[in-house]
Point group: D2
Chain length 279, copies 4
Amino acid sequence: MRLLFLGDVVGRSGREGVLRHLPGLRDRLKPDFIVVNGENAAGGFGITEKIAQEFFAAGVDCITLGNHSWDQKELVGQIDRIPNLIRPINYPEGTPGRGFTVLPAKNGRHKVLVINAMARVFMDPMDDPFAAADKVLKVHQLGGARMGPAGVDAVIMDFHGEATSEKMVMGHFLDGRASLVVGTHSHVPTADLQILNGGTAYQSDAGMCGDYDSVIGMKKDAAMWKMLRKIPGERFSPAENDATVTVCGVFVETDDRTGLARRAEAIRVGGRLKESVGV
Amino acid sequence: MRLLFLGDVVGRSGREGVLRHLPGLRDRLKPDFIVVNGENAAGGFGITEKIAQEFFAAGVDCITLGNHSWDQKELVGQIDRIPNLIRPINYPEGTPGRGFTVLPAKNGRHKVLVINAMARVFMDPMDDPFAAADKVLKVHQLGGARMGPAGVDAVIMDFHGEATSEKMVMGHFLDGRASLVVGTHSHVPTADLQILNGGTAYQSDAGMCGDYDSVIGMKKDAAMWKMLRKIPGERFSPAENDATVTVCGVFVETDDRTGLARRAEAIRVGGRLKESVGV
Amino acid sequence: MRLLFLGDVVGRSGREGVLRHLPGLRDRLKPDFIVVNGENAAGGFGITEKIAQEFFAAGVDCITLGNHSWDQKELVGQIDRIPNLIRPINYPEGTPGRGFTVLPAKNGRHKVLVINAMARVFMDPMDDPFAAADKVLKVHQLGGARMGPAGVDAVIMDFHGEATSEKMVMGHFLDGRASLVVGTHSHVPTADLQILNGGTAYQSDAGMCGDYDSVIGMKKDAAMWKMLRKIPGERFSPAENDATVTVCGVFVETDDRTGLARRAEAIRVGGRLKESVGV
Amino acid sequence: MRLLFLGDVVGRSGREGVLRHLPGLRDRLKPDFIVVNGENAAGGFGITEKIAQEFFAAGVDCITLGNHSWDQKELVGQIDRIPNLIRPINYPEGTPGRGFTVLPAKNGRHKVLVINAMARVFMDPMDDPFAAADKVLKVHQLGGARMGPAGVDAVIMDFHGEATSEKMVMGHFLDGRASLVVGTHSHVPTADLQILNGGTAYQSDAGMCGDYDSVIGMKKDAAMWKMLRKIPGERFSPAENDATVTVCGVFVETDDRTGLARRAEAIRVGGRLKESVGV
Ligand SMILES: [Fe+2]
Ligand SMILES: [Fe+2]
Ligand SMILES: [Fe+2]
Ligand SMILES: [Fe+2]
Ligand SMILES: [Fe+2]
Ligand SMILES: [Fe+2]
Ligand SMILES: [Fe+2]
Ligand SMILES: [Fe+2]
């Protein structure tokens, strides 16, 4: 199977970047399944149902979220009816939406488990993401139908977090049980993509899909003012220069039998970051 | 000028990786100046005078530190006599050592200002790194002798920090005034190297020089135990598999007149991260 | 019932303060049940089985812990055989020891539920303390035998945390379901003891049992050096001036039928803090 | 001299509590100087010029702030013309307002130095509060005219912070150089008032002037929802039950010659916290 994961989409410029580059990426990579982290898609803060539908229409199979899940408050009431939009699994019990989902691949034959979890170091208090992931993976095991009716052909973990140490622990913790463990939230792609010893592709952060002539996707002036001056300034809003938008993510080709990674390529297209296109 | 910066060297395996790859890098890149972040060089915790001398003997021109500066306590009494080993500038007044230095390039003709500063988001309380950098750069201006006797031909800022937002703010804050602003501390190379609008090369993190089959350079088992179990386990020690050691950093070629970046290349050699060698 | 809770005992001077003042407190208050937080009893860091036995011999019925639970590593292997020494309930599943216990009161007729939980704001990542407490309290309900065989006559929650906001949320969350919700960890007694609307006695922090001519019970010089100088200094060790040791806690008298608080008094004896003795 | 300090005033109910109780406190304590922390006076968030004037009209001599200084944005442009409203001293250089002030006492004969500083542990990045205080106290020394024309008769430090350890370090750091070091920000009064070895009165937190049937002065429901549910809820607003408003602070009587504390009393009036009135 061929899996494409794109990191946090930031604002209008990020969304348009994704929509502009996705056809080319689909042509070239022929992904069987596409995941996008959408926690910053709506003006930098959360996502709306309408934006989610635009992603789905463009071929995205699943959207994940993060600490900005509820910035657009209406989503709280809507998320339960959007089956392929998931939020981090380790929110308190009773939180609307779900933290993982099993969805069909584009080829109709394969099943993909996507888990979204929030890291905890330097982040809000949340339940144990490792225990939560473990519990799901005991039910939905990688290896397809061989693993029983709940078996899945690919597992993608979007681990939304700050600290590289915690992300690597998740990588090793799921090594051999997931096709891809990829971080989000830092809004910067890392260059540490590797296939871990057990066969899981791992990258500490997918990077954002947004304007990199910015401060993590937001306009520089407001972000600099706030950090340098510490007095109120302009509201934060996404940087909007299309020429410096890069679409960032990870592409993984799995072994159809094991569901583990055979090949992995960083994806960076557009803008002024060094281009990287899996072939 | 040609500048080479290498990120946090972690433990014995990281040091040997640097010493093993540095001759090749010097051959290929012909750097006029080499900086290495050494805060984790001694068993993962701090640096000793002896290790510093080994780096200098291998051609390193300047060593920078970070939050682990004083993990080897003897350094407190030694640092004042090691002129090209600097510690973050924003420690309290009266802290041994210095936070910036102006050193001659290998070619004997050029002067390089190196500043080391600690970020504050998710880090220890420290004085304002932006104000501290600003003060130094008002004295030692980029542009060489044209800028007076304190003028310098290149400026390298090692900004040791956690949050990508704060690192980007530093990049933009020094844009046009530094040759290179590069982050350290996350131990993961980022793939966001770019030349900012004002001519400063910027990468959020250089990445570590160490074993990437690890948790930020430390042995996986101890790090995973601590995070997953929260009961005492093995002491942390550096991962030591030479086959998975990658030497990570950034190479910048500056315009000799302005001192700004003309070209920048990520450096990743050895191990299993995707190789990147500036030409 | 008459309940006495004493906050974090710090080091030799704190232990001796408790042993010195406990007979007088027992005479005056005639407590039916005594809880002590012991997380700093052994040289400021954790507790040993021997120290725990000394507390039990002095009439302490239950010992609670906190973020320093495992500073004395041997306790990991011992805690399972010390039934009235509990650790925070929201450690990961599989952690040795237990997070709550039901113990007989001194009068032999009543049962007391003690829960120990760790707060999360500005603390280590832990599971949800509110959900954990809720689960226990659904089984062991306040109100004695009327509530079935698992009913208890008093409920004491030691909520070990930093942020006053989180502690107050726990107070209100358990209001009407606990006899006493009391914070620990800040090592400073708060003067906000009150009986909440639902009948639960609440104080944000019990305060430490230790030397208040100190920095949270530790010798001033080392603590000041570390914070002011940020270079290595003396090891931290407990302050040891017996003349400035205050034993701090809370005394609660409950209604025997409901188990809720009828009267509550702050306890501060010895040293130079303003004395407060329940009558 | 007789000094009265009142902690963070929260919202309408807190302001009215202060205005209601201040006449009685003035009658009883006959303070020569009154300081109030006003960072939460305007609906819980910041302060307006109008509210400041109400406090001044009621006899308050100086208002201090904290991390909420600029929640009412207009204050940024107004603070420079309100000489006895100060903000934390360790904001970046160039921040409007000032971080300390020397004001006449009500008796017309004495001068009082008030410093407001922000702590850094678990708080926003700020410059070194210890160095900043030290610098001021080298100019304005306690001891009155004997210390030269810049000498002052009393020194009050409002140290706005979270961690008790950092507050105690400030207490000891200024011991012998200040009349009173008192913490604010936790919104809970501590019961650790003492006169330190060098003669400085110290209390870790003054406590808020506000409704204690709340979560740090805010309505319980919204605060509990946010912490327990982590989905959007009601906006935070101050709790407004006048019957549970307590006015909290510290009263210090100094030696007129040395300016050091001769006597100190916790102040808690109204509501359901245990009353404490200095005589
Ligand atoms: Fe994001
Ligand atoms: Fe995020
Ligand atoms: Fe490092
Ligand atoms: Fe570091
Ligand atoms: Fe403690
Ligand atoms: Fe603690
Ligand atoms: Fe406040
Ligand atoms: Fe505050």
